[in-house]
C-alpha cells in the first residue's frame, strides 16, 4: 500500500484541508488539552498546525489513505439492473441482500465491499428462481431443435448465456465445468436450470473481474465494455457493446468515446446518476425528517416524501440538462400541487413534479435552500447549525469530520428561551473539547439560521434578529452572509469545484482518490469549472487515464 502521507505533503487546497481536519482529529485525541484561548482555536487550526504532518500524531487521522485497486463487487442495485437486462425480468431480485458497507457516503467502494454469508445464502436462493427464467428464455441463448436438449445444445447455451452473464467469453474448460452440472442432473431441463444457477452464483457474475499483471496496462475490450456499461448504466453491456468487444474494438480512445457518446443518449443513463445523486445528497435522510407538531403545526407528515421526490426531480433536471452550478444557485424548485403550499407558490396544476421559479429571492440556492435539505439536516424542534454545516463541509468541500470521541458529553446544555440557536451553539466554540471540529461545521451552518427546522424562512428567533453570517475556514469560500451568498461562493470556489469532481471520482471509480490521481482530478475539476455539466463530467471520466488504463 502506498504511503499514507504522500497525499498530505502536497500543498493543493484539498491537502491543506486534510491537514486542517487532521488537526481537528488530533485535538480530539488530545482530549483535555485546552488550546490557548477560546476563539483562538480556529486560527490556530489554520496556521498553527498546517506545517506539521498530522501523521506524526500516530492516531489514524490520515484516514484518506490510498487504497489498493481491487475488483469491484456488484452492489444490490447493480445486481438487480444486471439481472433485469440479462433476463428481461422486472422485479426486485436483490431486496433480501444485506446492505453494502458505506465509505464517505457511497456504497460502492470496492475495497470495503465484503461478501457476507447472508449474501451468499440469499443470492443462492434467489438464483434458484432466476435460473428458471433463464431456461424459459433459453432460445435467446441457444438455437436448439424442439425436444432435443442434448449436450451439444447445452454446451451452446452455457457458452452463450455464460458470456452474457459474465460479460466475457468462457474458456472451454469453464464450459466443461458447467456442462458437468447439466450432465449430472436428473432431467435435461433441470440440468439447464442448475447450470444457469451455477453461472449466476459464480464469482465472475458478482465481480467485475479485470486481469492485471503480466505487464498489462490497458483493459481488454471485454473489460472496457463493462467499465463503460457499469459506469454509465450501472448494468451489463448491451448487444452493441458486446459486438464491439467481440470485434476487439474497445481499445482505442476514439472507439471508446464513440460508444460513450452513444450510451449517453440511452435512457439507462439515469441509473448511474440517480444512484450517485441520491447518495451524494443523502436523500434517504429527507424521508425520515420528523418535526414536533407542537412547535410546527403547519408541518405536514407527507412533506418528507414530497420533498424527497421534488429533490429527485430537481437533480434529474440538473444531471440531464442543467448546469452543475444549479445545485447551489438555482432560483427554482420542482414541485407538484400537494407540495406547492410548502414553497408558497401557486399550484402548477400537476401531480407530477415540475419546474417552478420561486419569487422569493432568499430561496435561490438550488439544493441548499430546498425544504428537504433544510428540514432533513435539522432537529425535531430546532435547527442544527452542526448538521447543516457538516453536510456542506463533507459533501461539497470534501472535509472529514471525525466522530465525537468516546465518553465526551456531546450535549451543550439546555437552550435558554431567550437565546437564539446561534447563541446556544456558541458553547461548541467556547468549549475546548468541541471547538476543534465544530469550528469547521457550525460557522457554515450559521448561514442557514435564516431557515427554521422545517425550512421556513425566518428573520427573528426568540425575539432577536437572525444573524446569518457564516464562515468556512481553511478553504477559499471565506465569510458570507446567508445561504444565497454561500451558494454563490460554492459555485465559484475552486476548492468546492475540485470537491465536486472528487465526489464523482469516488463514486464512478468505486474507490477513494490517491496522490496518483491528482492529474486526473485536475482535469475533471477543469471540466466542472469550464463546461459545468454532468454530461461533460461523465464524458471526461471515460477519457481519463484511470478509466482507460489498468
Amino acid at each position: 500500500m502506498r504511503s499514507r502521507c504522500t497525499f498530505l505533503r502536497k500543498t493543493s487546497p484539498l491537502a491543506m484541508m486534510t491537514v486542517l481536519f487532521g488537526a481537528c482529529a488530533a485535538r480530539i485525541n488530545a482530549e483535555g488539552d485546552a488550546p490557548e484561548g477560546g476563539s483562538g482555536g480556529s486560527s490556530q487550526n489554520t496556521g498553527g498546525t498546517a506545517g506539521t504532518s498530522p501523521c506524526s500524531a500516530g492516531d489514524g487521522t490520515c484516514s484518506d489513505a490510498a487504497e489498493p485497486s481491487v475488483i469491484r463487487r456488484l452492489t444490490r442495485s447493480e445486481y438487480a439492473f444486471t439481472i433485469a437486462d440479462l433476463l428481461g425480468t422486472n422485479e426486485s431480485v436483490s431486496g433480501s441482500f444485506p446492505a453494502e458497507e458505506v465509505v464517505k457516503g457511497f456504497n460502492n467502494n470496492a475495497n470495503a465491499l465484503s461478501f457476507p454469508g447472508l449474501l451468499a445464502e440469499q443470492s443462492f436462493s434467489v438464483t434458484a428462481q432466476l435460473a428458471k427464467a433463464a431456461v424459459e428464455k433459453s432460445s435467446r441463448f441457444a438455437a436448439c431443435a424442439q425436444g432435443t436438449l442434448d449436450a451439444t445444445c447445452a454446451r451452446q447455451f452455457i457458452a452463450s448465456f455464460g458470456k452474457k452473464a459474465w460479460r466475457r467469453p468462457l474458456s472451454s474448460a469453464e464450459v466443461d465445468k458447467f456442462l458437468s452440472v447439466f450432465t449430472a442432473a436428473e432431467t435435461p431441463m433441470l440440468g439447464l436450470e442448475l447450470a444457469s444457477q451455477s453461472l449466476l452464483i459464480s464469482a465472475p457474475f458478482f465481480y467485475r473481474i479485470e486481469q492485471r499483471g503480466q505487464g498489462r496496462t490497458k483493459p481488454t475490450s471485454w473489460e472496457m465494455a463493462s467499465r463503460l456499461s457499469y459506469t454509465l448504466w450501472a448494468s451489463l453491456p448491451d448487444d452493441e457493446l458486446f459486438a464491439a468487444a467481440e470485434a476487439d474494438k474497445l481499445r482505442d480512445r476514439d472507439d471508446i468515446v464513440a460508444q460513450a457518446n452513444r450510451m449517453m443518449k440511452d435512457a439507462k443513463l439515469v441509473r448511474a446518476y440517480r444512484s450517485y445523486m441520491s447518495q451524494w445528497f443523502d436523500l434517504p435522510r429527507i424521508s425520515v425528517a420528523a418535526k414536533d407538531p407542537k412547535v410546527f403545526p403547519m408541518w405536514n407528515t407527507e412533506y418528507p416524501a414530497l420533498l424527497r421526490a421534488g429533490a429527485e426531480a430537481f437533480l434529474d433536471h440538473v444531471a440531464r440538462q442543467g448546469k452543475i452550478s444549479d445545485l447551489f444557485t438555482a432560483p427554482f424548485v420542482f414541485t407538484n400541487d400537494t407540495l406547492a403550499p410548502y414553497y408558497g407558490v401557486a399550484k402548477p396544476g400537476s401531480s407530477a413534479f415540475v419546474k417552478v421559479d420561486l419569487k422569493d429571492k432568499n430561496r435561490a440556492s438550488g439544493m441548499l435552500t430546498q425544504g428537504g435539505i433544510l428540514a432533513g439536516h435539522a432537529g425535531f424542534s430546532s435547527t442544527s447549525p452542526t448538521f447543516r454545516g457538516k453536510f456542506v463541509r463533507e459533501q461539497f468541500l470534501c472535509g472529514t469530520i471525525p466522530k465525537a470521541p468516546p465518553n465526551v458529553n456531546v450535549m451543550i446544555g439546555a437552550a435558554d428561551p431567550n437565546q437564539t440557536t446561534r447563541e446556544h451553539y456558541s458553547e461548541h466554540i467556547k468549549n475546548p473539547q468541541c471547538v476543534g471540529c465544530h469550528s469547521l461545521m457550525d460557522p457554515i451552518g450559521f448561514a442557514f439560521e435564516e431557515f427554521d427546522a422545517i425550512g421556513n424562512r425566518r428573520t427573528v428567533e426568540n425575539g432577536k434578529p437572525i444573524d446569518a453570517t457564516g464562515d468556512a475556514v481553511g478553504v477559499d469560500v471565506g465569510k458570507f452572509e446567508g445561504v444565497n451568498q454561500l451558494g454563490e461562493r460554492l459555485a465559484s470556489s475552486e476548492d468546492a469545484t475540485r470537491c465536486l469532481a472528487t465526489q464523482w471520482f469516488r463514486f464512478s471509480f468505486g474507490r477513494l482518490e490517491s496522490a496518483e490521481d491528482d492529474a486526473t482530478l485536475d482535469g475533471l475539476t477543469k471540466v466542472v469549472r469550464d463546461e459545468g455539466t454532468f454530461a461533460a463530467l461523465m464524458m471526461a471520466t471515460v477519457q481519463s487515464s484511470p478509466f482507460l488504463e489498468l
Binding site: 481491487v70 446492505a99 454469508g117 445464502e121 465445468k177 452440472v181 451455477s198 425535531f380 458529553n409
Partner: protein
Amino acid sequence: MGTKILSRRSVLRAGAGVSLALPLLDAMAPRALRNTAQAATTKRLLIWVQPLSIYADVFWPAAPGAKPYNWRTDPIKEVYFSGAGGMQNDKFELPEALSSLSSLRNDLTFIEGMDNSASNHDAYSTTLTGTQTLEKSPVDMISIDQLIAKRLAPNTKFKSLQVGVRNAGAGNKSAASWLSKTQAAPAMDNPVKLWERLFVDVSADPTVARKLRANRQSVLDAALSQATSLKQTLGADDQKKIDQYLAAFRDVEKSLAVDTQMGCNPPGKPSQTSPSTQEVLFEDDELRAIEDTPYVMKLQLDMMAMAMACDLTRIATMQFGTEANNGTFPWLGLPNWRWHDASHFENDSPAEWPKQLGDAEAWRNVAAWSVGQFGYVVQRLKDLGAFEGTVAAFVTSMNHGGAHKSRNCPVLLAGSAGGALRTGTHVRLPNSNNAGGGKTRVFNDLHLTLAQAMGVPLDKFGDAALCSGPISEVLK
C-alpha cells in the same frame, strides 16, 4: 467428468470428520435421542442488543433495605449510581417495570456497573466487539457471538443466526455481529424471508429434500471450483476478495451437509400481509407499518427460539433497532414519540430529566416492553426444552442516549449456561463509575464471562487494555 469435483467434495467430508469427531457422531445419532439426552448439555447463547439506552432507574432492582424506585412519583435520578458498589443481593425484588419477568426471577442475573467499550455513534456496532470505535478497531475485530460460534464450531445448519427488528437500513451502524472489521454479519428483519431461510428445508418431504440437496451441491461445486481456479490468476488484493466469496459459499455448502430432517416443529410460514393495514407487511427489508412491530417481533422471536430448539443454530443475536432508529411506539400509546429523537431529550442534561416526566413514562414503557420481549423469548426456550444449557443476555449499548453516554449500561442475564453461571441474583460490581477508585469494568469482561460460560475460555477479548477478566461474582 467430475473427478476433480468429487475429490474436492470428499476432501470436505474428510476435513469435517477430522476436526469434528464428536459432533459428527452427534449428527448421526437419532434426532429424538439428541433432543433429550443431549439437550441438557447443549450450550446455547442468545444476545439481545438494545440501542438508545434503557431508562436505568426503572431497570435496576433496589439495593437491600432501599425503597423501590417509583417512576410515577420519584424524581429521575442521576443516571449513574453513586454507591461504592460491591454488592450481591440474592433477595432482590423485580422492579415494577420488569414485573413481566416474575416467572423467570430465579433465572435472572442483574449485573450493575459495566460500561460499553464505545460510546457515541459507534456504541451499537461495538457493543459486542470490545473495541472503542469502528475506525480504531483492529482488522481482525470480531464480535463475541461470532468468536464463540467460530471456536465451538457446532455442527449446526447455521453457525450463528442474526435476527433484526427495525434494524435494517443503517448500513454498518445497524450491525452488532461482526466477522471482522470490514465484514458485518447482518441481521434479517423480514420474517417471511427469515422463515424461508430457516425452515423451508425442514418443512420439505425427505426424499425431495435429499434430491434438492444433491442438486444444490452440484450447483455449488462448479461455481466454487471456478472461483478457486480464477483466484490463482489474480493479484494478492483481489485474491482476498475471492477468499471472502469462497468462505461465504463454503458456509452455504456446509449448511447443505447438515441433516435438517428433525423431530422439531417448525412454525407455519408467516403471512405477507400486515395485520394492521391489510397491505404488504414488508417491502424488501423495510417494515411498512410501524404498528406491526409487536406482531413482527413475536414472529421473529418464535422463529429464533424454534431455530435453537431444532438445533439449527446455537448462537443467536436479536438486533432491535439501531442507534439511528426513529420509529415510534404506537402500541404503547406513543404514536408521535420517535425513538432516536426522544433519546435526545429536549433538555439533555440529567438534571433536566425531572422536567421531562412525559418522557419518563414513555421510556418506562419502552423499557418494560423491550425487556418483556426478551423475557418472552427466554420463556419460549424454556417451553421448548432448550433452556438448560442456555444463557441469554440483554445488553444495552448506551445508558443515556441524549449525552451519548455508555457508562453503567443495563445488563441482564437469563439462564446459567448449564450451571456455569450464578442466577437469581443482583450483582453490583465494585469500582463501578470509579467510585472505589479502581478500574471500571467494561463489556469486554462481560464477553469474557459469557465465553467462559459457553466453554470457550479466553484470556483477552477485543481491546486487551479494557479487559480485567471474567466477572467472578457471576461465574460459578
